[in-house]
């Protein structure tokens, strides 16, 4: 892990430094296009928090926080899960299948669909872990490559056997309204997906801070051989952490299908790039769960602000991706910039 030995204080300083440096560099990029960097940043900030912007930021935070935590819990235990895309797809597909075809009443169907997504995403990541443990294929590689298999598989399924012929798109039928997750609870601007994600986030934070399991995972991430010498069963733990990481990614897929898109459309889950933004947030936060949540909400705000800025100024929203990437690059560069002889 990048600078894992840094204490909390210098870590915070490093993150703040990278953000400032990235904002300055991003401003330079904007300036080169002839636009005014200050007004661009102002539009991003306004767009992220003012008016409907806040709702959009919160809505976008749900999948982003989920994917970031999925990456973070694995990273914390020393596993790099690059297969979030695949796990999210498999989870989303499982949720859609249950919601469409399992004949039980509405709410039970939604609960079953979420459970199916958790199991499917988890098992998909667990398979990659098994490849590492039995054949020595690194989890990082296996999980990444499994995403392509998942993409191909889901794409085929929604184009042929599961396709809704009424639309011109490669997508499934719409999920019955009874099985959908409510977008507003008691008319508050809070969706069921937000509540589910908040509960998951709290569980992860508490487990990391005081749970016996969280402690073992963290120590393993810091020094796997020490953990092994102290009696941790590394193989079992790797399987467990991979399953949970994938399960969370699968859950994100289900929340998007049941709470937002209402059907599985080819490519729709991956288009916003939640997996990669989430990974970046987890890296930025050095896998600390609380910091990961803060970083991913920050990225969500940045992205929402970017769209708003695009509407207002006509500059491409991709700029916010450039900013995200610059932040990580600066963070990675920091220890060498200041290395002493």
């Amino acid at each position: 892990m990048i600078a894992a030995a840094l204490d909390t204080k210098s870590r915070l300083a490093a993150i703040l430094f990278s953000i400032v440096a990235a904002v300055l560099l991003g401003g330079l990029v904007v300036g080169l296009t002839g636009a005014n960097p200050i007004s661009v940043y102002l539009e991003i900030a306004k767009g992220a928090v003012l008016g409907r912007g806040l709702d959009e930021t919160l809505a976008r935070s749900v999948p982003l926080v989920g994917m970031a935590l999925a990456a973070a819990i694995a990273l914390r235990a020393g596993l790099v899960n690059l297969g979030g895309d695949g796990q999210m797809l498999i989870g989303g597909l499982a949720a859609a299948l249950v919601a469409l075809y399992v004949p039980v009443p509405g709410v039970a169907r939604a609960v079953l669909a979420l459970a199916a997504a958790i199991c499917a995403g988890g098992l998909y990541a667990w398979l990659a872990a098994i490849l590492q443990l039995s054949l020595g294929i690194p989890f990082l590689i296996a999980s990444l490559l499994f995403s392509y298999i998942a993409r191909g598989l889901t794409s085929y399924l929604v184009r042929y056997p599961l396709r809704d012929p009424a639309t011109g798109m490669p997508e499934t039928y719409r999920v019955a309204s009874g099985a959908r997750l409510p977008a507003h609870i008691f008319d508050l601007p809070v969706s069921m997906a937000m509540i589910v994600m908040a509960v998951v986030a709290i569980v992860i934070v508490v487990n990391d801070r005081s749970g016996v399991n969280g402690f073992e995972w963290r120590m393993t991430g810091l020094n796997a051989r020490f953990a092994q010498y102290s009696g941790v069963n590394l193989s079992r733990q790797t399987q467990r952490v991979a399953f949970l990481s994938g399960a969370l990614a699968g859950l994100v897929g289900a929340l998007l299908i049941l709470g937002q898109q209402y059907r599985f459309t080819d490519g729709a889950l991956l288009a916003p790039g939640y997996t990669w933004s989430g990974l970046m947030a987890a890296v930025l936060a050095m896998a600390s769960p609380i910091a990961t949540i803060v970083a991913s909400v920050f990225f969500a705000a940045l992205q929402v602000g970017g769209f708003s800025m695009e509407r207002a100024l006509g500059l491409p929203a991709v700029l916010t991706w450039v900013l995200q990437a610059l932040i990580i690059l600066c963070l990675a560069a920091r220890p060498i910039l200041f290395r002493k002889r």
Binding site: V212, N213, F215
Partner: protein
């Protein structure tokens, strides 16, 4: 004639003074000891001399001429050579290839192997350090590899040779060979700097001693006129009594018993049908030159390595248990390398102390850690084991080697297991901590625990052990007790036994 002078060398890292106005002067023909505990600033000073670090203040004079090294190449050009503790060699290449690397004799565009071989032979015979130019480096004994390292420095016309803890990896016989070679080099007018914290070898071979403590020179001594006690006092700043371990014999039932234990890897037998017992109330030492199967033997006992044969604790057969159940059955284990396997350096002292027992009722309940209890326990151990740490919340990696090792020992002793296995109890640890760790192990033995110690430091094994087992090529080839436990005899068995004499 003064060959090397370092004057007022000062170096700070982030405000911490590592070297504070150090002066050192070495004559031609002299063997000069640079002593000090870990963290005293020896390595910093030597790295400055070798051009790896730039001093904040002070000057270096070679032959009276001021030098300004920006990298090791400058130091090498000025005639300074360094023999590092870990060899910088290509194990898959031959001796001559290693020696002429970057300085190859050529025939046209090609390397002339004959000229290179000839060069190696001449260099070796000139300095009394003969070596076969065509041996592959990986096949050589450690002592010969070190000789190659010295020849490498000499091939670049070094007149000042720094040897960084050269005896740490050697058998007593190899060490004697090294000392002969060092005297030979000194007699030809070279200046040698021996960095070490082993007092007997300093007394045996050096002419002058510079002792460092906390970044300053705490003593400049003439070897002939000083004593062991005076050197120790300069190193630690107080008097330390020598360790005395009463040798006891125990006839209780074995606590650990190992029968016909073998480890094979890729068809090679690394541990070969080893059997031994460790009884309550005794310390059994395992001696051996590195690479003769000691770590694999311990890994097999701990269940970290697949092995055939039987291991039992008391009357319980633990041969099929994973490590967690072996520990639970009654083994505490201090692994060889505290950074690699003994701790998670970035985690706090308290976390490192509790890890391993964090599922016990004292440290957690219903799946949640009892953080206050964990911290209190850590504070208690820090005090009892006199660990110098400002807080139990600091990362353990921020402690000095000796304090870190004390924490690891404290953790394992505190488990209360009837058997304690300790690998390299005091490697890279300062004199004060060595003393404390030895006393701790002896006290635990006297409480009736069974203790198994593996160490590459023979002096340590002789001081601690009630019995010594010598490993050679995967077997135990000698079991020594009483008057046989002396450097001469153990060293001979480490080399393979009586027939090598």
């Amino acid at each position: 004639m003064t060959l090397l002078q370092m004057k007022g060398i000062t170096k700070r890292f982030d405000g911490v003074v590592a070297n504070d106005g150090i002066s050192l002067s070495v004559n031609s023909g002299e063997i000069h000891a640079l002593m000090g505990e870990n963290g005293a600033g020896k390595s910093t000073l030597m790295n400055i001399l070798y051009g790896l670090l730039k001093p904040d203040a002070g000057e270096i004079l070679v032959d009276g001429k001021a030098m300004d090294f920006t990298n090791p190449l400058g130091a090498i050009a000025a005639g300074i050579g360094m023999v590092h503790q870990t060899f910088r060699q290509f194990p898959d290449l031959t001796v001559w290839e290693n020696l002429v690397f970057q300085n190859e004799p050529r025939r046209g565009p090609l390397v002339s192997a004959d000229a290179a071989r000839d060069f190696v032979r001449r260099l070796g015979s000139r300095h009394g350090l003969e070596i076969d130019p065509d041996s592959r480096v990986r096949d050589l004994a450690v002592g010969i590899r070190q000789r190659l390292e010295i020849l490498k420095a000499l091939s670049r016309e070094a007149r000042i040779l720094i040897l960084d803890e050269p005896t740490a990896v050697l058998t007593p016989q190899e060490r004697d060979g090294l000392f002969t070679a060092m005297r030979e080099l000194a007699s030809k007018g070279m200046a040698l700097i021996l960095v070490t914290h082993k007092i007997p070898e300093v007394i045996a071979i050096t002419d002058q001693i510079t002792v460092m403590r906390d970044g300053r020179v705490s003593g400049t001594l003439v070897t002939k006129e000083t004593s062991e006690a005076e050197i120790i006092k300069a190193m630690v700043g107080r008097n330390v009594p020598p360790t005395i371990a009463a040798k006891v014999t125990s006839d209780a039932e074995p606590m650990l018993s190992v029968k016909e234990l073998s480890v094979r890897r890729a068809g090679v037998t690394i541990v070969d049908a080893v059997s031994f017992d460790v009884r309550p109330g005794e310390i059994v030492g395992i001696a051996g030159v590195s690479g003769n199967g000691q770590p694999q033997l311990i890994s097999a006992v701990m269940g970290l390595e697949s092995a055939t044969g039987a291991v039992s604790i008391g009357d319980q057969d633990i041969s099929r248990f994973p490590i967690a159940r072996r520990r639970a059955a009654g083994i505490s284990y201090v692994p060889e390398d505290r950074h690699l396997t003994g701790t998670a350096p970035a985690a706090s002292i308290a976390e490192n102390i509790v890890f391993g027992t964090h599922r016990h009722a004292a440290a957690s309940s219903k799946g949640f850690l009892r953080k206050d209890a964990i911290r209190a326990q850590a504070r208690k151990l820090i005090e009892r084991f006199r660990v110098k740490a400002a807080s139990e919340q600091l990362p353990i990696g921020s402690l000095s080697g000796g304090n870190m090792q004390k924490v690891v020992i404290a953790r394992e002793v505190e488990h209360g297991s009837p058997l304690i296995i300790v690998e390299e109890p005091t490697r890279g640890v300062d004199v004060g901590a060595i003393e404390f760790i030895h006393q701790t192990l002896i006290a635990e033995r006297d409480k009736g625990r069974a203790i198994l110690v593996v160490s590459s430091d023979l002096t340590e094994l002789l001081a601690l052990s009630d019995r010594i087992l010598v490993m050679f090529e995967g077997r135990i080839n000698a079991r020594l007790t009483g008057s046989d436990m002396n450097e001469e005899t153990v060293g001979r068995w480490m080399m393979g036994g009586a027939e090598t004499r």
